[in-house]
Symmetry: C2
Subunit: 272 residues, 2 copies
């Protein structure tokens, strides 16, 4: 069975897409082609979409699904009259909130992923810039300004986690790779030792590490299982000894790693 789902919005469509994809993951045994249709802010664009829906319905032999976050009532009604099953985030949830708050909603578009709040947007962008400047131990000068300093062996997941923490939560996360030298010495490396309260350790299963490193440098000592085992074991021991919290990233996505770090450390996100 083949189906098409449209994510439709008068702005970026990120909310419709996040919602729609989450819902679709709940269904196995169905192949759904997804199409993002952002910036549907004029009636003509809504009418074009209705035509496209009809065409896809004919091709698929089944009606498409539309996940909508359209805020404009007139445009929404054009889309609602299409052949699709239209699941509208706003009509379902906005009304109970209006009643609860005893307030009308604004029906303004582009509020959630636009520039409605420039101050918090700039916090995020600064954090992304911080993550890049302090990636892989590149600079250790501004560790004072870091919310968090991730430590771990090479390829344990530090970099994408730092970038995600910045983009999603506005947190300034640096990362410092624990080299062979670092883990063979007693005590924490000089660069991070003054910041024990900001340190967070990432670890990974040596077999998985071997695989990840092997994709970069096949048949190298760096990617050998014995080397991966040794580094992981020594690095974990060092971090435990120094009281640095540790998370095994082997089966976790960056989203899961980031959520767990916040939960474990109690660090407050800088956005809202």
């Amino acid at each position: 069975m083949k189906r098409t789902a449209f994510f439709v919005s008068d702005s970026t469509g990120i909310t419709a897409e996040t919602l729609g994809r989450s819902l679709l993951t709940q269904f196995d045994d169905i192949e759904v082609k997804t199409v993002s249709v952002p910036f549907v802010a004029q009636p003509e664009l809504a009418r074009e979409l209705v035509e496209r829906v009809a065409q896809v319905a004919a091709e698929d032999g089944a009606r498409p699904i539309v996940f909508s976050t359209l805020t404009d009532q007139g445009i929404y009604e054009i889309v609602a009259a299409s052949e699709a099953l239209v699941l509208d985030l706003f009509s379902v949830f906005i009304r109970p909130l209006e009643i609860e708050f005893n307030l009308g909603s604004t029906h303004a578009s582009g509020r959630s992923h636009g520039m409605a709040n420039r101050a918090s947007y700039e916090v995020r962008m600064e954090a992304v810039s911080f993550a890049l400047q302090h990636d892989d131990g590149a600079s250790t000068r501004h560790y004072n300004d870091a919310d968090l300093i991730m430590v771990g062996v090479s390829r344990s997941g530090k970099t994408p986690t730092c970038v995600y923490l910045a983009m999603q939560f506005g947190l300034r996360a640096a990362n410092y790779p624990m080299t062979e030298d670092d883990i063979s010495r007693p005590g924490l490396p000089h660069a991070v030792a003054p910041y024990t309260d900001k340190l967070f350790g990432l670890s990974i299963d040596p077999e998985r590490l071997r695989q990840v490193r092997g994709e970069r440098q096949p048949n190298s000592r760096y990617a050998s299982l014995s080397q991966c085992r040794k580094e992981v074991k020594e690095c974990e021991a060092l971090l435990r000894r120094e009281g640095v919290p540790l998370l095994d990233t082997t089966n976790l996505s960056v989203e899961e790693i980031a959520s767990r770090i916040l939960l474990k450390t109690g660090i407050e996100r800088r956005l809202r």
Copy 2:
């Protein structure tokens, strides 16, 4: 009026948070404190949440809002019996989809932001790594593998856009800064000239550029309005002459920039 909203999930809570924040942006004149409660996967954690909700309700003098994506029926029922207004994404939308697909849903948790699909996760992580390696012209060796090469003057928004395109869509985006030398010469810089079909230009209002640069290097020639005006004007002229698409990023968030680039170029995201 003060209110508290909880984003509750048995996994990362990203979907509940995205949905909840989008809905809350529709209400002005109300101050909402938000609290993320991820990984509510055991009944005890659900009961703790119910207690917390009661406490917050007493403090606020108004019932909290719970945005939920709980997939386990038993855990959901514990939370649904709390004092909060519970808005549940799953109970509202899953049922119509089950009818539409004539299929039961899996009620599995952690599907949307976890490791359910390792292949597409790795595409994203590779793309993040690509963006960092090819940031700010750092390396131009693998431009062949890029989906997109962003060009523009320093601080026009290239870096965060590349990182976002990688994280969200799995696209490999490099970025190349157009220096004074580059824009004073006729033709595109040698490093990017062979890849005209991959180039995308970002521009920015000179006044805004002056402000952004001034935060980095106050009172510098680099941040002077005359310098910003000159660079923006010459860079725009060069890119127009060379037929490179251009987007003004002055009032756009990275999410909006990324969505518009995809819409304008027709580049397909690499995820799903």
